[in-house]
């Protein structure tokens, strides 16, 4: 080392060395500076500083029955006589109450569009109310709502128990629009103009914050409000011993090299929180797309009259603008809350089958030869994959919907070549439009006035990948329609029907904007300020792109568009991923709680970049990441331009085999995963679930976020540390869990985790729930297309009473015909030694126009009593006990060649048709 020893340490170098020692904290500190904190935002500072106490807000008069159902009234602010804020209260069934406070229509407060489910209005139910002098009681089935008149307060009761109270601490605040005073110097700084770093926000409308406190009565854990790289349970941010933390922030940003365990908001925002405790679960959704801060208090402060004796968790929600539009989700179980929330914001999309298989991405597959070589690499190593992705470099100078023809001279032929193997391609389409006079999108958008305007009303110009760029105003339905058309085959030159899309940078990312995004005083459609809709921006763009693919596919090809930014309701639109993570073990670890948190907030179809976007994963890390990623709802490998190549076969053995196994595991499980996606689509329940969602009564599960469930039947205790030789495994419930490869059974140990050995890189603990039946397709193929006709294997994991049940959902995997009953939903039940296959579709709703020819090649029964005993014999017969047709069976390990003990009854070659009703009886002696 050339003379390094001679160097005297200057203060700067010492500081640097210290930083290396305290790397984590330092990284934290450096990052934190880039983001606006509560005390730097006047609206947050003002509201956060408020002391709890009597609120100045009161109900303005009697609540009236409103025209479309529900009640209406006004809220007044006693500090500002004459200001009357219209109030609306609506109920949607027993469990959902919406409370909306806004300003009179002339004031034009922004109300967030495109988030609520289209069918929500039709679910409005009548409310019975009873008024006394101080409060009004509303009855919603078994649940009740009490509106206190002065101060204005809302308490929710489930079965007589209070569960939620709004404005109990008097922090409700609604800053009405007002005239700019002549002398603004008398006002608090930052109210009419605000500077962050070098950016000045002109704030022409002045202060307009909306805030409130929400107390979750008897709650013990809080979850939700993604996206941030933290643990799943929300830690307190206020009232802590020692240092005060920043409140949680919801403000979609392009965060460069985010660190794990950071409370800063990332690319997306869902202002939805769930509170859980022994007495039940409740949720709150604040429909507001402005910048938002949320405090979670370490301990309750200020007594709430009438609720003094209750334990609770206090939260404080502070939004910069918009309106008060809050949905109370009354539970009482976590599943109920997710279902209620997705009733409000919509159920997740039913994805195409290919899109839940494995995706191979990199910034960038450079040219056609590269694409061909990667495609061939998978085939040469017999590793399945479904989608090959092209990042920004495939375009002509970052002009989306174009090709760099020096690298991709024959895009159509390339896509068709990939499609000939049943695979798909994805190209990136970002929201920044290159300001280039030769670029048709720019020309047209400029001519039509489709760009977002700056505060002076001119087209806003920012800086992004293409250089100087402008941004389409997706708040305008006309712009969205126009954008959607750009996806048509005749518009998007050299695209094909097997090409899908990817929207990155849609927070939006503006490299030279405040906090790398758009100025808040930019103007959208109808004069809406960017500050009002910021968190919605990504969703609008995502939605417009999805509409494009719908148009292209004549409304019968389910769109697939991956987005980075998201908001409440994104689950109705498509998939998201957790953005630019890093090839570090900590990022593998945090990917699980991040995805769980998204799922709790309704966004199921999500994944983290396998391998980590930045940096080079060591082969062990990459292998472990594939093993975890195989259970992510969205499973994609991705890497930064500067990283070394890391396609699955590049690390030699044992890595190639282990990564192949991981990917094949995903493919084998696809029938199950697809069924879980169908369940999500119907019910809103997440695909990847925290244990407490399924086992809400087991307090030991409440803080667990390293383990997770895929659907309800697969439990994963992932290995996410280097050289792990054991994992701590908690088995919820009272029924056994069967290790998927060996069939070894584990049962919960009285609320305690047990230690499971990890014998090597190939050891990855995943379990099937006792009481479940899972259909798999165990034959590896190139991609999902070639699996269509392959036979199923049924894995039956018996519970302690010898019973099990499972569903299998199948459709054509790509069209919307399933909405016209072109699908098959089968139920498998096992009881008293008898396996039955029957129709599970709602009556009159089965298999119109969809034939399922597939057979069952094997049935594996785990957990039969005395199966390991030499003296016992088993045989399987078709039909009843006296059935004559005997099926071949043997006691073997559940998976051939897995090294497990012979503990399963394997019924071979039954060749039963999945679509037909039949039964098999197991006779033991």
């Amino acid at each position: 080392m050339g003379g390094g020893e001679k160097v005297l340490m200057s203060p700067a170098l010492i500081g640097f060395a210290l930083c290396l020692l305290l790397s984590c904290q330092c990284a934290f500190a450096v990052k934190s500076e880039e983001f606006r904190k509560c005390h730097e935002a006047s609206f947050c500072r003002r509201n956060r500083a408020k002391e709890p106490g009597a609120s100045t807000f009161a109900l303005g008069g009697k609540l009236q029955q409103a025209a479309g159902g529900g009640l209406s009234g006004t809220v007044i602010n006693k500090d500002f006589p004459g200001v009357e804020l219209p109030l609306e209260i609506s109920a949607y069934g027993d469990g959902i109450v919406r409370v909306k406070v806004t300003e009179v229509p002339e004031k034009k407060r922004f109300e967030v569009p495109d988030v609520l489910d289209e069918g929500l209005d039709s679910k409005k139910s009548p409310i019975v109310s009873a008024r006394s002098s101080k409060d009004t009681w509303l009855t919603l089935g078994g649940n009740k709502l009490r509106i206190l008149h002065d101060p204005f307060r809302i308490d929710a009761f489930v079965d007589g128990r209070p569960i939620l109270s709004i404005n109990g601490r008097g922090l409700f605040n609604f800053e009405h629009y007002r005239e700019k005073p002549a002398n603004i110097s008398e006002e608090e700084s930052g109210t009419w103009e605000e500077i962050f770093k070098s950016h000045t926000d002109s704030k022409p409308k002045g202060p307009a914050s909306v805030a409130f406190d929400a107390a979750f009565i008897n709650a013990e854990q809080l979850y939700g409000i993604p996206e941030r790289a933290t643990r799943l349970p929300l830690k307190p941010t206020k009232g802590l011993e020692g240092a005060e933390s920043e409140p949680y922030r919801l403000f979609n940003l392009d965060v460069f090299e985010y660190v794990h365990e950071s409370p800063f908001g990332l690319y997306g925002a869902v202002p939805m929180m769930m509170a859980h405790g022994a007495q039940g679960t409740a949720g709150l959704f604040f429909l507001n797309a402005a910048e938002m801060f949320i405090d979670v208090l370490a301990k309750a402060e200020h007594m709430i009259p009438g609720l003094e004796d209750k334990s609770r968790i206090d939260t404080h929600w502070i939004a910069e603008s918009g309106i008060f539009d809050v949905f109370l989700l009354l539970g009482p179980t976590p599943k109920n809350v997710v279902q209620q929330y997705t009733t409000v914001t919509g159920k997740p999309v039913m994805p195409q089958l290919f899109s839940i298989a494995y995706h191979q991405c990199r910034w960038n597959y450079k040219d056609e030869a590269d694409v061909n070589a990667v495609d061939a690499g998978f085939d040469e190593h017999d590793i399945p994959y479904d989608v090959l992705w092209l990042d920004i470099e495939h375009t002509d100078h970052k002009k989306y919907f174009t090709w760099d023809h020096s690298l991709f001279p024959h895009p159509k032929e390339m896509q068709n070549r990939i499609a000939a193997k049943g695979r798909k391609m994805v190209t990136i389409v970002d929201p920044h439009i290159k300001r280039d006079s030769g670029y048709y999108i720019h020309e047209e958008a400029t001519a039509k006035g489709y760009y977002v305007k700056n505060k002076d009303g001119n087209d806003f110009e920012g800086w992004c990948w293409p250089g100087s760029s402008s941004y389409l105003d997706m708040l305008s339905p006309e712009v969205r329609d126009w954008w959607a058309e750009q996806y048509l085959l005749d518009k998007y030159k050299e695209s094909t029907l097997t090409l899908y899309s990817w929207n990155d940078m849609n927070e939006p990312s503006v490299f030279n904007g405040p906090e790398l995004t758009m100025p808040r005083d930019n103007l959208h459609y109808d004069g809406v300020e960017h500050r009002d809709l910021h968190n919605l921006n990504g969703l609008l763009f995502h939605k417009a792109s999805v509409e494009g693919l719908l148009k292209r596919g004549k409304n019968n090809d389910r769109p697939f568009v991956l987005s980075r930014a998201f908001f409440a309701g994104t689950q109705r639109i498509g998939a998201i991923w957790t953005g630019d993570n890093t090839a570090e073990w900590t990022h593998l670890q945090v990917s699980v709680p991040m995805l769980l948190s998204l799922g709790v907030a309704g966004i199921s179809f999500a994944g983290a970049d396998v391998g980590g976007f930045f940096g080079n994963p060591e082969p062990d890390l990459l292998t472990r990441w594939y093993q975890v990623g195989a259970y992510y709802p969205f499973f994609r490998g991705h890497a930064h331009l500067d990283t070394k190549r890391r396609e699955p076969w590049l690390f030699g053995e044992p890595y190639t085999t282990l990564i192949r196994d991981a990917i094949r595991t995903r493919y084998a499980l696809l029938p199950y995963v697809y069924t879980v996606f169908y369940e999500a689509h119907k019910t809103g329940l997440p695909v990847m679930r925290p244990l407490w969602l399924e086992y809400p009564d087991e307090a030991s599960t409440w803080a667990l976020d390293e383990s997770f469930l895929l659907g309800s039947d697969i439990l994963v205790h992932p290995v996410v540390t280097k050289d792990a030789f054991q994992v701590s495994a908690f088995f919820p419930g009272k029924e056994p869990w069967y290790e998927v490869r060996t069939g070894a059974a584990h049962t919960g140990a009285a609320g305690k985790a047990i230690t499971l050995p990890v014998t090597g890189l190939e050891s990855f603990p995943a379990f099937q729930r006792g009481g479940s039946i899972i259909a798999r397709k165990d034959r590896p193929r190139r991609s999902t297309t070639q699996m269509a006709n392959d036979p199923y294997t049924l894995y039956i994991a018996l519970n302690s009473t010898g019973a099990a049940e499972g569903l299998l959902y199948v459709d054509d995997g790509r069209s919307f015909d399933y909405e016209k009953e072109a699908y098959v939903l089968r139920r498998f039940t096992f009881q008293n030694g008898r396996l039955e296959c029957s129709d599970a579709a709602p009556t009159g709703e089965s298999a119109k126009g969809f034939a399922l020819p597939n057979k069952i090649e094997k049935i594996v029964v785990m957990g039969l009593p005395k199966i390991a005993e030499k003296s016992s014999t088993f045989r399987a017969v078709l039909g009843d006990t006296d059935g004559k047709i005997q099926l071949e069976s043997a006691v073997e390990p559940p998976v051939m060649g897995s090294g497990g003990d012979a503990t399963a009854l394997v019924i071979k070659r039954p060749w039963l048709s999945v679509a037909e009703d039949w039964s098999v009886q197991i006779v033991s002696s």
Binding site: V7, L13, S198, A373, D379, K434, Q786
Partner: protein, 594 residues
């Protein structure tokens, strides 16, 4: 990707499927047996039904003829009815050679008229034609038309072209081998001579050195005497300031020396690595920004973490570009260079953007050590000011670029002042001058001879591969233009990428790889946030030396192919010819059959 690798894995005609290298070896071996096994299969089909033997390779027939039947790994006994019954009974997949039932099985297709291949059983009945005879899609007869005749014809055309190329290359190679011997002898005699020259020159230099020292001693004595005289005279005058303020070469901050053209010296590039390592540390650990600022208040804080903070001092575009460079580590890459040029403020600014990367890179390589080391050495004397020079070492890449840009814009005067050497000693005595000049000439000549000796010794000590064949190419360089670049690979020397006369070193010779079928160059110029550049050159036989297929699969890790007669060995040439002969024989037999 197949073009690159010699004999065994040549490109197959497009009409056929892709195969792994091992499959290819296998099929080539079995090629010879082709005509025989076809008969064999027909002969034994008596005992086993055709279906049972579907997908069985001829070499494996014995396994399936056995009675009783076992899985290949002998893990279990199976019945004949279990062969190809579409249910996997053997853990090794051997009971299902003709179906997709077993995960890791193999299906063998005869491809009559072409040549047999063995495919993964995952390809059987998957709707994609993998075998030219269509046998892998047996469940849907007619789905895959037999294309083996065309495939075979294309294959033979390709083989004969290849055989011709091999023959031609082989002739050249023979010449290379012959030439190698001569060249070696030539080098040896050159070495002898150089050694002798060197010895002689050593004596000469020694003598001149002695003379020079003698006259210098005399000159020194004369000077000292004169100085004493002057001192005595000065003592009479009042005291003057100790140091003239304009000239402070020792106490002044270490200048970030503008790197010179040409390769960095050994020590310097090592220092550069250190600086780079420090930078990387900063980036991943994310530290040091505040310290950096504190320590160097005079430097405009242009670090990425401050990008937003100091945006007011930058044009909006510059800010965007810098933020983008966090992802790309290359400010040029972001935005349209053309457009940028149009909009650029002034000449200086325009240059800055274009130069930033190279400059910064060169500082990373060359300047880094100087910055840190000199700053450190002089730190004691000049305090705070010195640390200005250290900032780059504690900041991230884009900051380094900014700071170096800053230095260029702000400091040139002082830098110029500092690097200009003091006036040369004023020599009066013409004798001193001429002796010194003579000695200088002798010295440089000696260096010349010494390096010649070293060069020749190195040359002779090298590994030139089998038959010493690469001796013939010892001094050769190969070039290929790709877009705006020219790639140049010098055997046993350097590999470079040139653009508009600017050369980037991809690496220095680092030896042979993969049994002389490739060589590589390592430790090239460092990449931002990436490795040191490197290049791997894969070799194959060709009638002349031709560099092609330059690629950069991972950032700054290049690959290329070199066709060269040196690889057209006897064996390889013979094998191609045999393969061609065998392919022709098969075609003829088929024709006769028809």
């Amino acid at each position: 990707m197949k073009q690159g690798a010699g004999f065994v894995s040549r490109v197959l005609p497009q009409s056929c499927c892709r195969q792994t290298a091992s499959t290819r070896i296998y099929l080539l071996l079995s090629l010879v047996l082709l005509s025989h096994w076809m008969l064999a299969v027909d002969a034994i089909s008596g005992r086993l039904p055709d279906v049972a033997l579907r997908g069985v390779a001829p070499a494996d027939l014995a396994l399936y003829e056995a009675d009783p039947l076992f899985c290949r790994d002998h893990s279990r006994k199976i019945a004949v009815s279990q062969l190809n019954d579409d249910f996997c009974d053997c853990p090794d997949g051997s009971d299902e050679p003709g179906t997709s039932a077993c995960p890791d099985g193999r299906f063998y297709c005869r491809n009559k008229g072409y040549h047999p291949i063995s495919i993964f059983s995952s390809r059987v009945n998957d709707g994609i034609c993998d075998c030219c005879d269509g046998s892998d899609e047996w469940a849907t007869p007619g789905a895959c038309p037999n294309t083996c005749l065309q495939a075979g014809a294309a294959y033979r055309t390709q083989l004969s072209a290849e055989a011709a190329a091999y023959s031609e290359g082989h002739k050249v190679r023979t010449k290379y081998v012959a030439k190698a011997q001569g060249l070696r002898q030539q080098w040896e005699s050159q070495l002898e001579k150089a050694k002798a020259d060197k010895l002689k020159q050593e004596a000469k230099e020694k003598e001149l050195k002695a003379r020079k020292e003698a006259v210098e001693a005399a000159e020194k004595a004369q000077r000292e005497w004169r100085e004493q005289q002057e001192k005595a005279a000065k003592a009479a005058e009042p005291a003057a300031p100790e140091q003239p303020p304009a000239l402070a070469p020792e106490g002044a901050p270490a200048p970030p020396v503008v790197p010179q053209e040409g390769g960095p010296e050994e020590g310097q590039s090592e220092g550069g690595e250190e600086a780079e390592a420090a930078l990387e540390g900063t980036e991943t650990e994310g530290g040091g920004a505040e310290e950096g600022e504190e320590a160097a208040p005079e430097v405009p804080p242009l670090g990425e973490e401050d990008a937003a903070a100091h945006a007011g001092q930058l044009s909006a575009e510059e800010l965007g570009r810098r933020v983008a460079s966090r992802w790309t580590h290359n400010e040029e890459a972001v935005g349209d260079v053309q457009l940028e040029a149009e909009q650029k403020l002034d000449q200086e600014g325009e240059d800055w953007a274009a130069e930033a990367r190279e400059e910064a890179e060169q500082y990373g390589e060359v300047g880094g050590e100087e910055l840190v080391e000199e700053g450190g050495e002089t730190g004691g004397e000049t305090g705070g000011e010195t640390e200005t020079a250290e900032v780059p070492a504690t900041e991230t890449g884009s900051l380094l670029a900014s700071v170096t840009g800053f230095f260029r814009r702000v400091l040139p005067e002082s830098v110029a002042r500092l690097v200009v050497p003091g006036p040369p000693p004023h020599v009066q005595d013409s004798e001193v001058e001429s002796v010194r000049a003579e000695w200088n000439v002798a010295q440089s000549k000696l260096t010349e001879f010494s390096s010649k000796v070293t060069d020749l010794e190195t040359k002779l000590g090298r590994d030139y591969g089998p038959d010493d064949v690469f001796v013939a190419l010892a001094d050769e360089c190969f070039e290929v233009p790709v877009k705006q670049y020219k790639y140049k690979v010098c055997m046993f020397g350097d590999a470079t990428q040139e653009e508009n006369g600017q050369s980037v070193r991809l690496g220095g010779w680092a030896g042979w790889l993969d049994n002389y079928s490739a060589f590589h160059f390592t430790n090239g110029q460092h990449c931002w946030n990436g490795p040191m550049r490197s290049l791997k050159v894969r070799l194959r036989c060709g009638p002349k030396n031709e560099l092609s297929n330059i690629n950069e699969p991972s950032r700054c890790e290049y690959t290329a192919d070199l066709a060269t007669p040196a690889l057209c060995t006897d064996e390889a040439t013979k094998a191609v010819k045999e393969e061609l002969a065998s392919a022709e024989r098969i075609a003829k037999e088929l024709k006769d059959e028809l």
